[in-house]
Every structure is written in C-alpha cells, then in structure tokens.
C-alpha cells in the first residue's frame, strides 16, 4: 500500500530503534521550532530518552528526582500557568504511582499535561514483572478527558509527541525501551484518533497498537500466502477510539483480532470489545494480550514469544476467529 508510505518490511532490511528515542526527537524538534515547552523527568533521563534534550535545552528541562507524584503535581501547576509540559517516567510509575494525581489534579482540572510512559509493555525485559507496565493503557483510558496513544515505532512516536503539543487536555503517550522495527516513514499519515489501514484484506481484521503492529503485518503476510486476507489496522489511539473503522472492519471482514503488548483486561482489546458490543452485531473477537498475570524477566523477543505476541501467535488467533465466524454465522 504505497500511499501509506510504509516500509516494505517483507523485502527490505528493517531498521531498529526504541520508541523512547522517537519521544526524545519529538521534544527536540518542538524546542528547535521555538515551542514553549518544559520537559520533566524523575531520575530516568539516562534511559527514558530525555538526556539529549537536557543537554541541548537545559533551561527547558528539570530532573525532579525520584519524586514521580511530586512531578505530576508540579507539572499540573506549570500547565495551570498556561505552559505546555511533558513529564517523563516509567509507564508503570505514571499509571500506577502517580495515577491519583493524574486523576484528581490533572484530569479533574482538564490540564494540558503530556505524560510519557517510557520503557512500557514488556520492553523492560530483564527487569521483570515489577517494572514491566502492562496495565497502564487500561487505567489511563478510564480517566475523563485523557487521550491515550501507543505508537508503533520510533517515527510514529515522534509524530505523536509533536501532536500532543496541540491537544489541549492531558495525553498519555506510551513508549518502549526495546529496539523494534521502524515500519513507517515520514510521509505515513498520523492523526490522533484516526486508525489507519496498513494492509488490505476481507476475511478478518487485525487491530494492533504499539510495537506489535509489525508482528501483525508479518502475520497478515503469512496468511496471505495461505489464501487468507487479513486486514491490518494500526489502532495507535486507544482513546478516543476510532469506532468507525472498527465498525467497518466488523461489517466488511466479519471477524476481529486485537493485538497489544499489555494486559488483556481493559486495553485495546477491551476498548474494541466495548465498541463492538454496542454496535449490536455479533462478530467473533479474539484478544491477543497478556492474560491476568505479571510479566517476567527475559529478553523482549523471548517475552513476545512467551505471550504469543508474534506473527505465529497472531496467525493462530486469526484462524480461530475465522473458524468461529463459520460456526457462529451459518450461511443463510
């Protein structure tokens, strides 16, 4: 689909980069353009992706120390004074430790704070279950007025970072520490709230977000060789969800698979299930995600494999929903 400007991941060598880096480049580009932004970090500049920004724009940067709650509260004050602020910490610390401050100060005041959850999903790898944030999308999504974006690669991460500066309310951006394939290019369209079809297909739709969009693309390609047309939709914005594209996918393909590097409860899968159930159409749906458990130590790729977040795992889920489609909707 050349109009999307996607990298041909099946034929050319892919470049790898952490989406944390895209965040950093987005911040630098904003500052270079003269945007009046303030960037905060809580003793994670070395890993989260703000160290280069700190070097280039020291007067726009503040490292507040291991004070995530204070950081979110202080950011609220900075936003209250009319400034555009980005706060940076681990996904699980933003969504966990600072959640009440985000809820009761930032969201209650509809304040313009952009929250970066770095090292999210399984990308904290060896650090294991306590550091891997799988619940962040679910808990951020419940907050009134919160926008939630999970970029697929570092380029999309950069676009999302820049786009957040134009969104007046709070935004949660989720990034990963693991080096993952770059599948988009500068010309690939990206609009917050608008999902994009990355591969066409009429037998099933795969809705994915984050670094596993790449795996969905690979799965679709594998399935194509077996005569199954799997549409791939990059559903980078979990909230507001692009309900129209999901509804269309359910009508046109009759079966859905969601894929995310997070908890099976309340994330992209949950959001799609809510949207779908309310259309009144019975469409088989399979949520490929991490089912009611913590992550564990291991290399990022090993963990994706363990949890079935791979082209193979996705293909198996596709076959399952397609067979259910036949069972549940007998030919009339």
């Amino acid at each position: 689909m050349p109009e999307m400007g996607l990298v041909d991941v099946h034929h050319s060598a892919v470049k790898l980069e952490a989406t944390n880096r895209g965040y950093e480049r987005g911040l630098i580009e904003l500052a270079e353009r003269g945007a009046d932004i303030i960037v905060m970090d809580a003793d994670l500049a070395g890993s989260s992706g703000t160290s280069e920004f700190r070097k280039r724009f020291p007067d726009r940067f503040m490292d507040i120390g291991l004070c995530e709650q204070d950081m979110l509260g202080t950011a609220a004050g900075i936003a209250l004074a009319g400034k555009c602020v980005y706060v940076t910490t681990h996904g699980m610390l933003a969504a966990g430790k600072a959640w009440d401050i985000i809820r009761s100060t930032i969201c209650y005041g509809a304040l313009n704070v952009n929250i970066c959850g770095a090292d999210a999903g399984l990308s904290a790898g060896g650090a294991g279950g306590s550091r891997q944030s799988l619940e962040d999308v679910a808990v951020m999504r419940t907050l009134p007025g919160m926008t939630v974006v999970v970029p697929a690669d570092s380029l999309e991460a950069k676009k999302a970072t820049i786009a957040a500066s134009r969104i007046p309310g709070p935004v949660y951006l989720r990034f990963a520490a693991a080096r993952v394939p770059i599948i988009t290019t500068d010309i690939t369209p990206f609009t917050v709230g608008k999902a994009e079809v990355y591969r066409r297909g009429d037998d099933v739709s795969i809705l994915a977000c984050g670094v596993v969009v790449y795996e969905a693309m690979k799965a679709s390609r594998m399935l194509e060789d077996n005569g199954i047309g799997a549409r791939v939709i990059n559903c980078h914005t979990i909230k507001p969800l692009d309900r129209a594209i999901i509804s269309r996918a359910s009508v046109e393909t009759g079966a859905l698979v969601t894929v995310e590097e997070g908890a099976s409860i309340g994330g992209l899968g949950g959001a799609c299930a809510e949207a779908l159930a309310q259309t009144g159409r019975a469409t088989p749906l399979k949520i490929v995600a991490i089912d009611d458990r913590f992550g564990e130590s291991g290399e990022h790729e090993e963990l994706l494999n363990t949890f079935g977040l791979t082209a193979r795992g996705i293909s198996a889920a596709v076959r399952e929903v397609i067979s259910r489609k036949k069972d549940e909707q007998p030919q009339s």
Partner: protein, 271 residues
C-alpha cells in the same frame, strides 16, 4: 559464633565477584548500587540477622526488605552463599523462567522476605511486619535497606512518621548513602542533606557509619537492637560501585552493561 571482621570482608569480596558475574551473564542490571550495599548485606546475613537458610519461611526469623530492589544481584549472591539455594542458580539472573527475577519475587526465590520493585515502598512493608510481630508477641527484627535516592520518594517519609509515631523499635532502616542516584549526584538533583537531621526530627534514633567498615556496621546493628521505644536508621556512608575502580562514583555505572574486557578488569581489582 559470629564471623570475624576478616571473614566478613572475605564474604563481601566473594559477593562482589558474584554480582559482577551475574551482571555480565545477564547483560543488564545495576552494578553501582549493588556493589555499594554488599558490605551491609554481608554484615546483616552473616552477623546481625537471626536466620536459618534451611528454613527460609521460619516464623521467628529476622526479615530483610530490600527496598532498593534494583540491588537484587547483591541480595541473591548473599542468599546463595548463605545456603538458601545453589550458587549456580546465580547465572540464571534475569533470564527467562529464572528463579532470580530482575527485582525480587518472594514467590520464586527462597529467602526473599518481601516482593519489591518500585523504590520507596519498602519501609511501609517493614512497619507492617513489625506491627504484626508486636501483636503476635514475636521479637524478630526487620531490616529495610534503602537507597538515598529512594529517600526522595514521599512514601519514605510517610513510613518514617508511622514508625516513629507507633514506637516501632524492631525496624531498622539502613540507608545506602552513596550520594548517587540514576541520573547523577543526589545533592545536585534533589538534595537530601542534612539527611541525619531529617530522620532525627522525625523522631528516629540515627546512627551514622562507614558503610564499608564491617566492624562499624556490626556495632551499629547491635546498637539498633538495643535501642527501645523508637525506630533506628543506620546511615551508611558508601561509595557507589565500591571495589571496582572504574565504577566508583561514576553515575553511568548505575545501569550500564558490562563487557567481557571490563569484567576481567573488575575481577582483577577484586582478586
């Protein structure tokens, strides 16, 4: 029959070497903050704490809450050398399906008294254990090992108030005061000084020691045990990366990956 200071120092060297080997094998993890608290752990597990490695869940044992959970390799090395599990397990640290997770998981590792991960949460857990012990008329002690960067977390001070208010004297907090955190020097990023005075005004008994002097540490833990009516904090002045010259006081060694060459150089320094 407590080990002699010479023996304790030998234990500490063995643990430092184990930590480096684990980190090399794992390919990730935190060298600096693990090395800085090794002497503290050696004195705790070989001198101060009443434990029985054959019965890791013995009800009357003293407990350790590793609030600075990123120092897990140092604790795992201590547990293995103390006999809780096979030393060879150390090589599985941070690997898929390992007993030894990046951050301590009591459901997987014998000898871990509390699962921990997020800095700043340990002291509250220690207080809870102490309150339960008091109700059961048990006299075990709870040690909580914290980083100084961790003392920036608000929960640390909530817990400090709770412990003092309730006169919890079976908790001993130990602060690994290496003046470093993830991004650099604590006093440049979010200053903690005067740290001892802060704890004093929170009504804690404060003992300041050299955190690499095993005799001073032993004496401090003895003093803490005999201090009644209030909690004790041992502020242990340490060097981040202690024992490996190229790591000492270098902030990048908070979580930098070891190479084979650097590993060899570090092991030579610890021969």
């Amino acid at each position: 029959m407590s080990p002699t200071p010479v023996e304790l120092r030998e234990v500490a060297t063995v643990l430092r070497r184990d930590v480096l080997t684990m980190l090399l094998e794992a390919g990730s993890g935190h060298p600096g903050g693990s090395l800085s608290c090794v002497d503290i752990l050696a004195v705790l597990y070989w001198h101060a704490m009443k434990v029985n490695p054959e019965r890791p869940t013995w009800e009357d044992r003293d407990r350790l809450v590793l609030s600075k959970a990123h120092a897990a390799p140092a604790l795992y090395a201590a547990l293995a050398r103390r006999g809780y599990f096979d030393v060879r397990e150390l090589l599985t640290f941070r690997k898929l399906k390992s007993k030894l997770q990046g951050f301590p998981d009591m459901q997987k590792t014998p000898g871990i008294d509390a699962s921990v991960g997020s800095p700043g949460q340990g002291l509250s857990i220690a207080n809870g254990l102490a309150i339960a012990a008091r109700r059961d008329r048990k006299n075990f002690r709870i040690y909580c090992l914290m980083g100084d960067g961790e003392a920036q977390e608000g929960q640390t001070w909530e817990a400090a108030m709770t412990a003092a208010h309730h006169g919890i004297d079976n908790v001993c907090a130990v602060i690994d005061r290496n003046h470093m955190m993830g991004d650099g020097n604590t006093e440049e990023i979010a200053s903690l000084a005067p740290l001892g005075d802060k704890w004093k005004t929170f009504n804690w008994h404060v003992i300041s020691v050299d955190g690499h002097d095993v005799e001073a540490l032993s004496a401090a833990f003895n003093e803490a045990s005999s201090t009644k009516g209030k909690p004790t904090v041992v502020i242990a002045k340490t060097v981040k990366g202690k024992g490996v010259p190229f790591m000492e006081n270098r902030p990048e060694w908070h979580d930098r990956k070891l190479t084979e060459d650097l590993y060899e150089e570090a092991m030579r320094a610890l021969a």
